[in-house]
Amino acid sequence: MANIQERLQNKPYAEYAYATRPSKMTLFWRRCLIKQIYMFFKLNLKIMIMVVKGHS
């Protein structure tokens, strides 16, 4: 997403210029296979528990 991100950042005072943006470290963790495999199981488990609890 590097190209588009740079283009928008070059317009100060535009509404989107006030939005938070991910750091390089955040972007790294988002694609880090070890962390993402852990997140895959963690999120799936969380969703399964929510589904089961959500109706009687």
Partner: protein, 485 residues
């Protein structure tokens, strides 16, 4: 022997039909009436819309599945409900009109003991002049719309490869449209595909929405615990859009579309225009256009349905200001208050009010998202309705042991933000409950520990995993019922 008639074979109706047959077995008839010959897994239409999946990968034929399960299937359109019977019969019935080729136009009366209305939304493109795939905008609401969108998107991408600048306008195409999530992920996927081709310098991608703030998604927004702060989904959504280089227009009600130009009104009452080369705008939704008649053939449509065609259920429809809305306004068992053998599930039930605070422009135009009902609550409601009807048939009792209020149910939404086994990503969002309950959770309206908003590759894997898992389940293959909704 009881006859249960299910109208519609979308996520909710199909789920209800499968559970009804599983619980009731051969002793009772389950009949499905749907004009569509295919089941479609709607959440994957986004990938059809960017050319990464073929329509055949998101749909399958319903007839063989129903035949195997012992469900009677009629490819037809339900025209009218007669809950008190009529003519020579006292039994409730629905008049249908066949759409399958062999019987096209043929009408039939289908009697029932219990009815599940799972007809889903009618896409009201006519509600916004110029909107829709037959006119000036695209849609990803169905697999054929999504395939058509991809053809047009391909034209824009080719123009960009030849050095031409393109403006993409994605979002809501009606002041009271819902399904922001689907449009949002389409905008992100377009940005991803444009960037993948190194064409982002030639693209202006604009998100246009009727939300008061980004991240409202028709559910009044949410709060997420992240990085040591409790942040509103506004921050989360703005961050994702900025990261993907998408600018936005919020509080906008699209009034009209012409070739290459959308006309919209803002909440402050001002009118604007936005030019585009490619637009995908979600239409307003209505219920099906079914009529209802009593025994003497008097029109009782107003008693059964609200004016937009969605069915009245056990909700509190008393008009009241936003400040007085309560969790108890929302239905729990989706039963018609007029006829206790009729139920509505999924998008077909009429919500008591919106979840987002109603807003009107300075000119009096309502500009507010209507409540979304994504696949997860639609499936859960379909299952609960099936369980309650089966219980009534088997025991002869009139109570409802199973409940699924949207003020107690949680929902997960996985927003695709790019396709690829190692390079894709998606935003995974969970909220609990779906409808904010400010009495139970006075601080944030929901259980803050159950609310999640994370972006990453895992989200893409989950969306892909769910695509295969839910199509497997919908085909009623071995062990389908142990897969949750």
């Amino acid at each position: 022997m009881s006859k249960v008639l299910v109208l519609g074979a979308g996520i909710s109706g199909h789920t209800a039909a499968l559970y009804l047959k599983k619980i009731l077995g051969k002793k009772h008839d389950v009949i499905v009436v749907s004009p569509n010959s295919n089941y479609q897994w709607v959440p994957s239409n986004i990938w059809v819309g960017v050319g990464l999946m073929e329509p055949n990968e998101v749909k399958f034929k319903l007839a063989p599945v129903y035949k195997k399960q012992g469900i009677i299937y009629k490819q037809a359109l339900a025209k009218s409900i007669h809950p008190e019977g009529g003519g020579e019969t006292d039994k409730p019935f629905v008049k249908i009109s066949y759409v399958e080729e062999a019987k096209q136009g043929e009408e039939e009366v289908v009697e029932f003991d219990y009815l599940v209305n799972g007809t889903g939304p009618a896409l009201n493109f006519a509600g916004t002049p110029g909107l829709g795939p037959d006119l000036f905008t695209n849609s990803v609401c169905t697999y054929d719309h999504a395939a058509h969108s991809w053809k047009n998107l391909e034209v824009s991408l080719t123009k960009m490869e030849n050095g031409e600048h393109q403006t993409f306008l994605i979002g809501t195409g009606h002041p009271m449209a819902t399904c922001q999530g689907a449009a949002f992920e389409y905008a992100l996927n377009i940005a991803f595909e444009v960037d993948k081709r190194n064409l982002s310098h030639l693209a202006d991608i604009i998100w246009i929405t009727n939300e008061y703030e980004l991240g409202d998604f028709g559910m009044g927004g949410a709060y997420i615990k992240r990085g040591g702060y409790i942040t509103p989904t506004k921050v989360f959504t703005e961050s994702v859009l900025a990261e993907y280089g998408i600018r936005w227009i919020k509080r906008a009600g699209v009034q009209k579309v012409e070739e290459g130009k959308a006309f919209y009104e803002l909440l402050d009452g001002t009118y604007h225009e936005q030019e585009f080369d490619f637009a995908m705008l979600i239409p307003g939704f209505t219920g099906s256009k079914m009529k209802a008649f009593d025994k003497a053939d008097n029109d009782i449509t107003d008693k059964i349905f609200v004016p937009n065609g969605m069915m009245r259920v056990d909700a509190d429809y008393t008009p009241k200001p936003y400040e007085e809305w309560k969790a108890s306004d929302w239905p729990e068992i989706y039963q018609s208050p007029e006829y206790d053998f009729m139920y509505a599930s999924g998008i077909a039930f009429a919500p008591p009010h919106t979840m987002s605070k109603p807003m009107k422009s300075a000119n009096g135009t309502p500009i507010t998202p209507t409540p979304p009902r994504t696949g997860m609550p639609s499936g859960v409601i379909g299952k609960v309705v099936a369980q309650n009807i089966s219980y009534r048939i088997k025991t002869g009792k009139k109570d409802h042991p199973h409940k699924a209020s949207m003020t107690k149910q949680a929902a997960a939404c996985i927003v695709s933000a790019g396709y690829g086994f190692t390079k894709g990503q998606a935003a995974t969002m969970t909220v609990s409950p779906i409808v904010p309950d400010w009495e139970k959770y006075p601080k944030y309206g929901r259980d803050i520990n159950a609310t999640v908003g994370v972006i990453g590759l895992a989200g893409h894997w989950m969306k892909l995993f769910m695509h295969y898992m839910f199509i497997y389940k919908a085909k009623a293959k071995f062990g389908w019922s142990i897969i949750p909704e």
